[in-house]
Subunit: 312 residues, 2 copies
């Protein structure tokens, strides 16, 4: 059994890679919902959608988010009606949010709605939101607090970040299956997602960090930092804000209380000692996922790492 | 001041014609909302939308409903996700329903949401729902009760109709401005819409029928029946079900308690005596609105009718 904790972009790629080599019934994906937003009255779960679309083979390769081959006619119309239009929902994508919102309105939990969307898209991997409760990632900037999407999409992650909070996390309950799958897996992977704003909200849900500490599973993370910079997005700036070095070693230290192994990029092989200084084993491979082969290659490497570690 | 009571199809054409020859501030349009439905969690007001789109010059000429040049990508996706897809919302059309639903969720009334949509579409005519309260047209068939859209769209108005009810009408309040505009107009027009399921719900809102009876305005209807058949839709079947003759005279009798003049088609000129037998004046012109000229021509005729009648 394998459990992976993930955000949207890089994580979705690795999840897809894993799904190509692991039977779906052996894979549980726990997804950040701190970025969820109410948009045009619809419940939008950007990370859940990225992973869902990736698993269905429908994540837009061109954009890296949203539905393959989508159009934006409704969005353009909303814009001309004077509605906010900085968060882009495509016409095909809209169907996902309409259906999810309807399911939630009818009393289903986000976990149940996600399962229903998986069934409708013939995705057999178990996809779980970190929580059915609202947890909101709040990014503090000198100009005030922003929701994650306001910071990331509307402001194109330009503002200086002075703090990140997960509003509602303390009172949230992990979704059914989250703690169980961490505890009962042979391998728990932390995807190469932003450690602060993608993995951070999941870790902020009560019980998750403790489950990672006490699970008998190997806990292996893939570094989203290569050569002292984020592969994509504001992971670097976020680590710095949290006073971690922007490096694979910084990622290792960020997860040090529960991490067994950090998989870092071959380009960072020289940093093995710094990673191990955090009491984390280091393993190196190509972590940049451009092609499908890259994604499958990284997934295979992660699985081989756990075998090697188990043999020690 | 002119007030027009209308449903969607034929009525929207006449409203457009009127708007071409009457300054917008002199025109109030009171629209049937008995067909409104919750679709995919959105508040859809088919007749309000038809009139709104017609006034904005955006009603699809090809289909007679929905937005000009619309596409149906979200609908196709909803269909493949297993959602109901028999009621067709286009990608552009969706924006209207998303915005309306958001406005209603934020506490606005349907009247206020409609005004906001009018502003956004630069429609200056006053467009009013008959009521802000839910009034549901229920069509009774041998197989059971159907909502109007289930009967009209899903079942393509094939089932035999044994009764039509307006659930909630008794307790509904007319929208702000409805009774006032009927009372304070010089002319009240009843559009060539279905007398039972389009005009009927408006008349079922407490106070509307009384206002029509006591208004000093001329009340003039345009017959939706030509040569003993509906111009479009199930008006004929509905009149028969209510034990009215399927003819211009039947329409006159249906409205006889408040109607001053019935405008019927030239093809029905021979029925003048039957119309007048209902104590309703008859006037004849071309009522089939195929071209824009037809719509403007009928609107002009209606205005000239009131002048002639006033001169008597």
């Amino acid at each position: 059994m394998i459990t992976i904790l993930t955000g949207g972009t890089g994580g979705a790629k690795l999840v897809w890679g894993l799904a190509q080599i692991v039977p779906p019934e052996q894979l549980t994906v726990i997804v950040n919902t701190g970025d969820d937003l109410n948009w045009w009255g619809l419940h939008v779960s950007p990370d859940l959608d990225s992973v869902l679309y990736a698993l269905a083979g429908k994540l837009s390769r061109e954009r890296g988010w949203g539905y393959e081959g989508d159009t934006f006619r409704c969005l353009e119309r909303m814009n001309s009606l004077g509605a906010d239009a900085w968060f882009q929902l495509g016409d095909l994508d809209l169907a996902t949010h309409l259906l999810r919102t309807q399911l939630l309105s009818s009393g289903k939990t986000l976990t149940e709605a996600t399962a229903e969307l998986c069934r409708a898209m013939e995705v057999k991997v178990r996809l779980l939101p970190m929580s059915d409760d609202p947890v909101k990632t709040v990014v503090t900037t000198p100009a005030g607090d922003l929701s994650f999407q306001e910071y990331f999409v509307r402001e194109r992650w330009k503002p200086k970040v002075t703090d990140v909070k997960f509003a509602g996390a303390e009172k949230s309950l992990s979704a059914r299956g989250v703690l169980q799958s961490i505890i009962h897996s042979d391998l728990v992977l932390i995807a190469p997602s932003n450690p602060v704003t993608s993995i951070g909200p999941i870790l902020a849900v009560p019980g998750v960090r403790d489950a990672l500490k006490c699970t008998p599973a190997q806990v292996i993370a893939v570094s989203p930092i290569v050569c002292n910079d984020s592969v994509s997005g504001p992971a670097g700036a976020m680590l710095k804000m949290r006073a971690f070095e922007v490096s694979a070693a910084g990622v290792a230290r960020c997860y040090a209380d529960f991490l067994d192994v950090l998989i870092a990029d071959l380009q960072d092989e020289s940093t093995r000692r710094q990673i191990e200084a955090a009491d984390v084993q280091a393993a190196f491979t190509n972590t940049i996922m451009k092609s499908d082969d890259d994604k499958i290659g990284l997934a295979k490497f992660a699985l081989s790492t756990v075998s090697r570690e188990a043999a020690r």
